[in-house]
Amino acid sequence: MNDFLFLIPALPFAGFLILALAGRRLPKTAVAFIGAGSVGLSAALTMLIGAGFIASPPQDHAFTQTLWTWMQFDGYAASVSFVLDPLSLIMTFVITGVGFLIHLYSTEFMLDEEGYSRFFAYMNLFVGSMLTLVLADNLLLLYLGWEGVGLCSYLLIGFWYTDPANGRAARKAFVVTRTGDTAMALGLFLLFTNFGTLNIQDLMLHAAKQWPVGSATAVLAAALLLGGAVGKSAQLPLQTWLPDAMAGPTPVSALIHAATMVTAGVYLIARTHVLFELAPVVQAAVAVIGAATLLIAGFSALAQRDIKRVLAYSTISQIGYMFLALGVGAWSAAMFHFMTHAFFKALLFLAAGVVILAQHHEHDMFKMGGLRHKLPVTFWTFFIGAASLSALPLVTAGFYSKDLILWHAWSSPSGSPGLWAAGLIGAFVTAIYTFRMVFVTFFGESKTEVNHRPGLRMLVPLVILAVLSIVGGFIELPRTLGNAPLFSEFLRPVFNEKAAEHSGIASEAVLQIGATIVALAGIFVAVLFYLLRPDYARKIGGVPLFESIRKFWLSGWDFDALYDRLLVRPFLWIADINKKDIIDSGYTGIANLNRSLNALLSKTQTGSIRWYAMGTAIGAVVFLGIIIFYP
């Protein structure tokens, strides 16, 4: 069964090729079948291979399939080979599974759009690239997938290209992530010059042997890789592109900008975790970046009016949690949160897509309202997603994953009460903005008529994701609630984490109760301000101080304005000075000189044959004179 591993990324690529070459001539039904079907087959294959993998794990818990040698240089041959280990299996499972549900949803969501086949071609290319990224056994192939998903992200953010604003958002996403990608490329160069290989397994072995903990090269390499991860995963200081990326169609936001691509940075750090363990400074920086990002993005989400921007900031914030977990060495906790987040955030985005479609493409939550009765399935699934996001205790997946991160932030050797407190405040804020979104959108008076009711192809993915958002958490039960850490046990061969020590069960229980209280308190605040007493919110909003804070948060802590001042404007200024290109002027000068000489000479071409004869005669006399008098 494992021999068919290559088909998992190959199927979406094949779908892309068919749609790109023949998509225009195919009817929409055929496009939908190819687009969603290729990913669906891939998902089914992943299930089969995954079942086989879990039933009888291969030696060393990793199966490598080499397809061909990609390029050969300096004694190193980069091969196109895929490796299946617990980490990549989980990523593949989420990408194909959630990806298929989103494709299925898109077949109906995008039905009335121009470029139906173009959309599915891009989406299939994305899934193929993302699978290449996670299955790659060397960093070069990983980088290929990394750039591939970046390209698809650009193409899909700018999918409705007739609006220049969408094109600008796409360019912003591309340029900002490229900043990180450049750092990552430098990191790859550094690793290659040091070890002469880019194979991840070999790199980690060599690094652990040759580099002492905290050595300068290790710190530099880890920091450069972190740069790439920060750009792709929209963390501080490169988080500004993600809210604007919401310009793309909603399924794109669900698939690329919530569930899969933006977590590539988390995957990269988890994959190269040995390197980060060798550079404790960088690992601590990962934790601090995560904590700062989750707070900043969480507060920004509080002030947004656009439902998709709330979710975008929420995504940044949740990835902040994953970074926090990575930073304190809780690798499997980060992956666990990645998985549950993929379920409930994809669910929230898809449900938001239904709402947006039903409200004439209205994004402003405050123009919606009262949708609870008109879109019951959407409401309940959205509610489950929101509960999971705000970590409603015991019954939701988000509770188990977020709790695990908070526990590690407190108890891990590199954790600290400060990081834990940041996570806890973040959880409080998360609960507020999530339920603010629920109450404003689905409760209160109806403000806009519902003009589009979702069909089966949109509702089925919602229901499946809602179920996953609940039961997805039960595969990793904490010690206080059954002690069944199946997920981290499954990942143990990859991360070699120590089994949880048996001390501190009491403190874990206390922390869990604390987190529960905080989440419930956040929900209570949202209920108070947005359901029971909306006038309170209005009164507080009227105070000038809070009003200016709201504006500050609405703009995402003014990072865009800061970067505009710091980077964009100086660059434009320099570009303006150098409008005529100083280096180019030398070449232009030569060209101009030639042109004027040419004009001068062409004047002598009078067209009169007698002048030419005269010229010849004078020339002959002059040359004869020279020869005779200056022999």
Partner: protein, 103 residues
């Protein structure tokens, strides 16, 4: 007999003929007269060769003259054909009127 004529005289005559021909080419506007003037210049050059050949007692000068004659015949045939074409196209033989190829 030939030795009686000093070389200088022959060369001066050739130079005079050449100058006459050149002036004819530069001053006349009728293309036929210009062609004839070119012929005079060619003959002047031929005369110079013959004189030089006589002076040194070499046959090369006369060989060169035969070449010049041959070339002149070819040149005249092409030239006259062009003159006919020019008359056909422009209804004039004025060389200055045909100056469309101005740079």
């Amino acid at each position: 007999m030939i030795a009686n004529v000093p070389m200088e005289h022959g060369l001066i005559l050739a130079a005079l003929l050449f100058a006459l021909g050149l002036i004819g080419v530069l001053a006349r506007r009728n293309i036929v007269f210009m062609l004839m003037s070119v012929e005079i210049m060619l003959n002047a050059v031929g005369l110079a060769f013959v004189v030089a050949g006589a002076r040194w007692g070499q046959v090369d000068g006369q060989v060169m003259f035969i070449f010049i004659l041959t070339m002149a015949a070819a040149e005249v045939s092409v030239g006259l054909a062009l003159v006919l074409q020019m008359h056909h196209s422009f209804k004039t033989l004025d060389a200055d009127a045909v100056s469309k190829m101005r740079g």
